[in-house]
């Protein structure tokens, strides 16, 4: 593994150099908040370490995405025959992503890249990305990423990890993809001997700043029905408004809807983010709804993240400890408390 040093004075110049081969994507102002989006030729990623309001999952899984289209006009030879839109595969440099957000994008692949079916839109976008992460030097009070199996310096889902060191970035080049981007940017100055030790010290400092943890070891051992039928759900989730803020902010929530829209005689089949907090999410054509109440819906969210996902993939929980749902929940629901309750209690009666 190579460690480079990038002088911040040369940073934007390098990004510009790499733009000839990569579309630049990163944290940037979006309305009144910090978003994660494609940057235009005069924009650079915000590298102050702030967490984006919505997660960067939109890089591979946009909130709305046209999947296919077809003409509806009578007499057109292609009338009513859907064809896929072109799926973009040109390289994208995802710069400034948090390590645990990149980990979340890797977890999304468990859903979209399966033995039986492959989602060509998500997979193509994922493969086109080079993930250039920025280590989290100052974790927030709601960061519990380490206990979710990731952390502020987690390299597992990144191609490059940048570590802020005053007037420079120490740069760990993790994969060949990462090396290719660094070369395209012209970043090639190797760091001094001892840089590895410096990174290690910064990593330990960041990790020790995280004081909040969750445990889910016992959730795995309990049955689905014991956890599902436990007594606490009404009490622990009564305040939930089913607003869905948690599901939209979450880097690992992958549920979606598919809708047809018609514009100027052309039909578009569009995928939109959806939320298990909505009653329409599960409403049958007959009017029957298997998750009719607010409590049933939020129970589904936590059971999915903390139990079903564990059982199905044996890959930990479907959470990277970013804390967005805790910060943005208008009702003060805290996944750490729910997880703790499920881990501790969860047995009926």
């Amino acid at each position: 593994m190579t460690i480079l040093t990038i002088d911040k004075k040369c940073w934007e110049e390098g990004l510009d150099r790499a733009r000839s081969a990569y579309t630049l994507v990163g944290p940037a102002p979006e309305a009144e908040a910090l978003g994660f989006r494609e940057l235009c030729a005069t924009e650079y990623p915000v590298m102050d370490g702030s967490q984006t309001r919505l997660s960067p999952k939109s890089v591979v899984f946009p909130p709305s995405q046209v999947m296919m289209s077809c003409p509806l006009k009578e007499g057109d030879a292609k009338q009513n025959i859907y064809e896929s839109v072109e799926i973009g595969t040109s390289p994208r440099a995802v710069v400034g992503i948090r390590p645990n957000d990149a980990k979340a994008i890797a977890l999304l692949q468990l859903n979209f890249d399966t033995d039986e079916y492959k989602d060509p839109y998500v997979m193509a976008a994922f493969e086109a990305c080079t993930f250039i992460g920025l280590a989290v030097s100052t974790p927030s009070a709601t960061d519990f990423s380490i206990s979710c199996g990731t952390g502020p310096f987690d390299e597992s889902a990144l191609d490059i990890l940048l570590i802020d060191d005053n007037d420079r970035y120490l740069t760990t080049v993790i994969t060949d993809k990462g090396a290719a981007w660094a070369a395209a940017a012209g970043f090639c100055t190797e760091a001094e001997d001892g840089a590895e030790g410096l990174i290690q010290a910064k990593k330990e400092a960041a990790e020790s700043a995280i004081t909040t943890t969750i445990a889910f070891n016992r959730i795995k051992e309990k049955t689905v029905l014991d956890l599902y039928n436990a007594d606490h759900w009404e009490k622990t989730t009564f305040a939930c408004l089913n607003c869905g803020a948690c599901t939209y902010a979450c880097p690992t929530c992958w549920c979606f809807d598919i809708q047809d829209e018609v514009h100027d005689g052309t039909s578009y089949r569009i995928r939109h983010w959806d939320s298990c907090m909505s009653s329409l999410f599960t409403l049958h054509g007959s009017g029957h709804n298997p998750r009719e109440t607010s409590t049933q819906r939020i129970r589904q969210r936590f059971m999915h993240k903390l139990k079903y996902f564990q059982d199905k993939y044996d890959h930990g929980i479907m959470c990277v400890g970013c804390g967005r749902c805790i910060e943005q929940c208008p009702a003060g629901i805290d996944i750490r408390n729910i997880c703790d309750t499920m881990n501790r209690e969860g047995i009926r009666g």
């Binding site: 009513n80 859907y82 399966t114 689905v224 029905l225 047809d260 959806d274 298990c276 599960t282």
Partner: protein
């Protein structure tokens, strides 16, 4: 890489009104490209997404049998946006079909076994596919006794009446047809509900006898205790579930019952499987 969201183009070849109240129609489709038909290799119990550009998609059980070549049939109840639109479409119209999707009745396990089919209302579609497949000359010897209990509200609400009549006349299948009630004095079959008829008509439970149950929730609710009373084990009771679906390929996240996705891991489950999951269907 095949795009699993992209429907195969099909043409509506025939539309038959299936019930007297016209709430159900049977649509017969052929593929525009014969290569697509070869790719659409299905088994009885599977479903597909019927896809109408500009309107949407709906998951519907496949009513034709894999032994019937050259077409697919689906019997569709008019209830929402897509099904209402479909009911107004005409022969010759082009639309799409995506599938086959989901698992199937466990034909590998059912080989050499007696099969009891219990169906009600318009959930009889994949059961019709199953019966047609089992009765095909090349398949009939692969199964033991076949018993069918099928009920509808009234004689006019029974699906596939011509086939029911033909099956009645065969000696290699025992048909037990019932309607909830009728004023038709020429009605020659049973009256009463499916669970009650199941109690008297079902073959004795054994290691070699399986029940496939598919029908409205109220029928299932009262039929399961009957089968239990008759001694059917939970892993010998096979059911097909429905839930709201969009993708049909296990990705969109809405149809789960616990860890199981009805669209991909199902729709067919044994009662023993279902007992381990939250009843969110």
């Amino acid at each position: 890489m095949q795009n699993p969201y992209l429907p195969y183009p099909v043409r509506i070849d025939a539309i038959d009104v299936a019930t007297e109240d016209k709430s159900l129609k049977t649509f017969r489709f052929s593929f525009l490209d014969s290569e697509d038909e070869k790719k659409f290799n299905y088994k009885s119990g599977q479903f597909a997404e019927l896809s109408i550009p500009g309107v949407g998609e709906i998951p519907i059980g496949i009513a034709s049998s894999p032994t019937e070549k050259g077409f697919l049939t689906f019997t569709v109840f008019k209830t929402g946006k897509v099904t209402s639109y479909l009911h107004e479409m005409k022969s010759g119209d082009i639309m799409g079909i995506r599938g086959p999707l989901g698992n199937w009745y466990p034909w590998e396990t059912l080989a050499g076994k007696n099969v009891l089919i219990v169906g009600g209302g318009f959930a009889f579609t994949t059961l019709r596919s199953s019966i047609k497949m089992m009765l095909a000359p090349e398949n009939r010897s692969k199964f033991g006794a076949i018993d069918v209990v099928y009920g509808a509200r009234s004689p006019g609400m029974l699906l596939y009446k011509e086939e029911l009549t033909a099956w009645e006349k065969r000696d290699d299948i025992n048909m037990h047809i019932t309607v909830d009630a009728t004023e038709d004095s020429t009605w020659a079959y049973h009256t009463g509900f499916v669970p009650a008829l199941t109690e008297t008509a079902a073959p004795a439970a054994s290691d070699d006898t399986y029940a496939i149950v598919c029908g409205p929730p109220v029928m299932i609710k009262f039929t399961l205790p009957v089968l239990e009373k008759l001694g059917y084990r939970h892993d010998h009771i096979i059911m097909s579930l429905e839930n709201r679906m969009k993708c049909g390929i296990g990705m969109c996240g809405r149809c789960n019952i616990g860890t199981e996705l009805v669209c991909k891991d199902g729709p067919v489950f044994t009662l023993a499987d279902i007992n381990l999951t939250p009843s969110e269907f």
